[in-house]
Amino acid sequence: MENKNLRDEIIRRSGVNPTKCMRCGKCTGTCPAFDEMEYHPHQFVYMVESGDIEPLLESKSLYRCLTCFACVDRCPRGVEPAKLVEAVRLAAVRQQGNNHMTANDVPAKIEEDTPQQLIVSAFRKYTK
Amino acid sequence: MQVKEYKPLIVAFCCNWCSYAGADLAGNNRLNYPAEVKIIRVPCSCRVNPMFVLRAFQRGADGVILCGCHPGDCHYTSGNYYTRRRMAMLFSMLDYLGIERERTRVEWVSAAEGAKFAATMNDFAEKVAALGENKRLEDLRCKK
């Protein structure tokens, strides 16, 4: 398995058991954001189950999921694909050193009416 | 002197229709559980007289577990309901006497639940082992 630790972590965090999936595809049939995604809900579940998570972390699909929970509601096996998407999203967000910019980029973005608190928290975030 | 590893002695009363068959299924599926678990077959869990449980403790058993059909599934319609009530009384009395609750248990195991049987026995043996030997109720006169 490619990425067993990350897989187990995502499964633990989401509380979802992807082995319950019987690959019926109802989640994909249901998904209103289907056209926006490169990995569709049923693929998503399958990829997490097989530990193929790296492509998911980089995929735009993560942020295209509306979290409408239609797939959760209709899945006949109670797999809850949307919760898996959320867990992978969290994994992407929590990855360290993957910030869009560094602390050095912050001063250029400061405008006159930027609140003090925002500036402090921006430095705090991007120096980590 | 060689110190023998402490293994708790556990007496399991299993009803003939569900739990004994469940234990057989655990065997069919080769699911391990401690050899210290010894099973006594009774027709129904309601056949187990509280006296038998006391006798086992008196003779040095470290834990006693009763297994019956799930509520509503008793082969004799209502036997396991009586078991549940009787053992609730007995266990609270044993608790009062200083026999820890973890040494006694009533569990519902159906004939299809071999895995549950093995898991229950493993868990029960572990809990009893953590408590150590049963000394409080053991009748020293019975010791050879």
Partner: protein, 664 residues
């Protein structure tokens, strides 16, 4: 003192692989009462049994212990062996050193030690065994079949053909069940009515079969061979013996707007009705919920036109008491409700139907006379979408669906798709499937024919939602293999609804003390070896009440159940289980504790005279157990405060001896 023989089985390497059988035999030799011990490769084989028989005779054994597999496996075998050698069969005890020892422990010394202890416990028990003789009870030579579908019909015919009387209780006005509603049957496509209705006529005309139609089982008492059953014959307000089934009353009845349940509410019937033309018995029934005469006394048209004078508005429910030797449960199934599956728009559109409704739509006797027309506007549908596994294999749907596979849907969907393409080649037929399950004779060939010859589109995927738009149904679904989401503007959507046991099964199981699984299917006595018997003696299972089944399987199970019933009814007397409770009258104080806990009502009280030492007599109330009714659960033995009640075969002192042996 007993003379006990110990026989240790190797079971090939099953036991001998992890248990030192020679050591076990040797160790048990020195137990009290043991005079002989032996080990052998296969004790249950003929040679092994001969070894036991010879030892019993040679050593004058009074009891034997067989250390082998589970008593659930071979206790009966070894009891027969003992009986053949002249030993009371209840002097045999089994030490389970296979399922509960060698198979669960891998270590040889550990396994051997445990096997010895289990053997000692069995020896300790045999030391206290007493010979038991089973009681006998007579057999009422008549069977009751509950449910008049194809399962009940076949069972009843088979039993009756063997010469025994059979009664069928059917809650509908006619027998026939679900099969009467079907159009064609897979995989040979015979018309269901053509093969079913002759059987229904056979039942109606068979001199050994009585049909209680429009009736239900109200109460069941007694035990195998001697059931007392109360049947409630619901008032149908028509005298069955007079009605000729001419149908004049039906054509004249002014109450026309009653949903026709036979066509699943897709058309209407009258308040007085005969469900379908081939009904057996062909007798009219008045629906009291809709009949104006019964509701407010204003009508009476049917009575006026009935030439036979069969109409009787004063009829009341009637209770009939009957005795039976055996009961067959054939209560069948129903499709589950689609109400909770909002995504398929079943309640929003008339053009979303279940497969059973589709069956009626294509049936020549159905609401459209066999023409496939949309229920909403009567137009011919050009695009049909079939959805499989609706509610089946669904374990997390907030109790919407069923966890099991309903088994028949794959095949009937293939049948529907094929027949549609055959009759209407211009129709576009798409089937959404998760898996196509066709394990049956000629089943897969049938499904492949639907795809290859009839051009049905099978798409692996599931329908996510169906939304009615105008006169179309927009079906949004996934195609997993092409990794696409597709939309189809369909005219008709057919849902292959999961099937569930009939609602009447659960209360019936309680009456019969027969066990059920969590899905309300009846459980069989053994899933492989006793598939048509319920664990309750004398109760047999036929058809889909035991699990989802297609017609061929149902018929074969019905025949099997019938053969078991015939085997039971052919006996004049039944030997009971001798392991029953008995009360020591000298110790019993008549307190009624045991009577109150007995689930079978096997314990009664009687006043008995006792001679006292001083030659006076004393009358005392004591408990008496009816051994034919007692099932031997032993609940009363624990309830008894004076210790008078004991259970034969599992006596207090025997179990205590086992406890002592284990705890030594």
């Amino acid at each position: 003192m007993q003379r006990i023989g110990v026989f240790v089985c190797w079971c090939g390497s099953n036991i001998a692989g992890t248990v030192d059988v020679v050591a076990v035999a040797e160790a048990l030799k020195s137990e009290p009462g043991v005079v002989f011990s032996a080990n052998y490769q296969y004790m249950c084989s003929q040679a092994g049994q001969d070894l036991i028989k010879d030892a019993i005779k040679e050593h004058n054994l009074t009891g034997i212990v067989v250390c082998s597999c589970s008593p659930r496996m071979h206790e009966a075998t070894f009891r027969k062996t003992a009986a053949a050698a002249g030993l009371n069969p209840y002097m045999v005890e089994i030490a389970n050193i296979r399922e509960q020892c060698s198979w669960v422990h891998k270590d040889m010394p550990v396994g051997t030690e445990k096997a010895i202890i289990l053997g000692k416990a069995a020896v300790a028990k045999v030391n206290l065994n007493t010979p038991l003789v089973p009681g006998e009870s007579p057999v009422t030579k008549r069977a009751l079949v509950i449910g008049g579908g194809i399962a009940g019909i076949q069972t009843a015919l088979d039993i009756a053909d063997a010469g025994f009387e059979v009664d069928i209780v059917e809650k509908q006005p006619t027998i026939g069940g679900k099969m009467a509603q079907l159009d064609k049957t897979f995989p040979t496509l015979d018309c269901a009515a053509c093969i079913l209705t002759p059987k229904m006529v056979d039942v109606g005309q068979h001199e050994k079969i009585r049909i209680f139609s429009y009736s239900e089982v109200e109460a069941v008492k007694g035990f195998v061979g001697n059931f007392d059953v109360t049947i409630k014959k619901k008032a149908r307000y028509v005298k069955e013996e007079l009605c000729t089934g001419c149908g004049d009353c039906v054509s004249k009845c002014p109450m026309k707007k009653v949903p026709n349940e036979f066509n699943l509410g897709m058309d209407n019937r009258k308040a007085i009705y005969i469900p379908f033309a081939q009904a057996v018995p062909k007798v009219a029934t008045i629906d009291a919920d809709y009949c104006n005469m019964l509701k407010n006394g204003k009508c009476g048209v049917c009575a006026k036109f009935c030439q036979a004078g069969a109409i009787d508005y004063t009829q009341k429910d009637e209770l009939i008491e009957e005795k039976y030797g055996a009961i067959v449960v054939a209560t069948g199934y129903n499709p589950i409700s689609m109400d909770k599956f909002d995504e398929f728009a079943y309640n929003q559109s008339k053009d979303v139907i279940t497969s059973l409704e589709f069956e009626r739509l294509t049936n020549a006797a159905g609401p459209t006379a066999g023409k496939l027309l949309r229920p909403s506007d009567g137009k011919h549908p050009e695009k049909i979408v079939f959805v499989q596994c609706v509610g089946s294999r669904c374990d997390a749907c907030n109790e919407k669906g069923k966890e099991y596979c309903s088994k028949i849907c794959c095949m009937y969907t293939a049948k529907h798709a094929m027949l549609t393409r055959d009759k209407y080649p211009d129709t576009d037929v798409t089937v959404f499937y998760i898996d196509v399950r066709t394990p049956g004779k000629n089943f897969d060939e049938f499904y492949r024919r639907a795809v290859e010859e009839f051009g049905v589109h099978y798409i692996k995927g599931m329908v996510g939602k169906v939304s009615p738009e105008g006169d179309k149904l927009i079906v949004q679904a996934s195609d997993i293999i092409a990794n696409k989401q597709i939309k189809i503007d369909a005219d008709l959507v057919v849902l292959a609804a999961a099937i569930e046991p009939d609602k009447s099964a659960r209360p019936l199981a309680t009456m019969l003390t027969a066990s059920m699984d969590t899905n309300d299917f009846f459980t069989e006595a053994h899933p492989k070896l006793r598939p048509v018997e319920s664990p309750t003696a004398g109760v047999f299972l036929s058809g889909a009440c035991q699990g989802p089944k297609d017609i061929p399987e149902t018929v074969s199970q019905a025949g099997a159940a019938a053969s078991k019933v015939i085997g039971l009814l052919a006996k004049d007397k039944l030997t009971g289980n001798p392991c029953v409770a008995h009360s020591n009258e000298m110790m019993c104080n008549g307190c009624s504790s045991c009577e109150r806990v007995c689930p079978y009502g096997a314990i009664t009280y009687e006043d008995k005279e006792f001679r006292m030492p001083d030659r006076t007599t004393l009358v005392r109330r004591i408990a008496v157990v009816n051994p034919a009714v007692c099932q031997g659960c032993g609940c009363c033995t624990v309830a008894c405060p004076s210790g008078a009640m004991d259970l034969k075969g599992f006596a207090n002192n025997q179990i205590i001896a086992e406890v002592d042996a284990i705890c030594k």
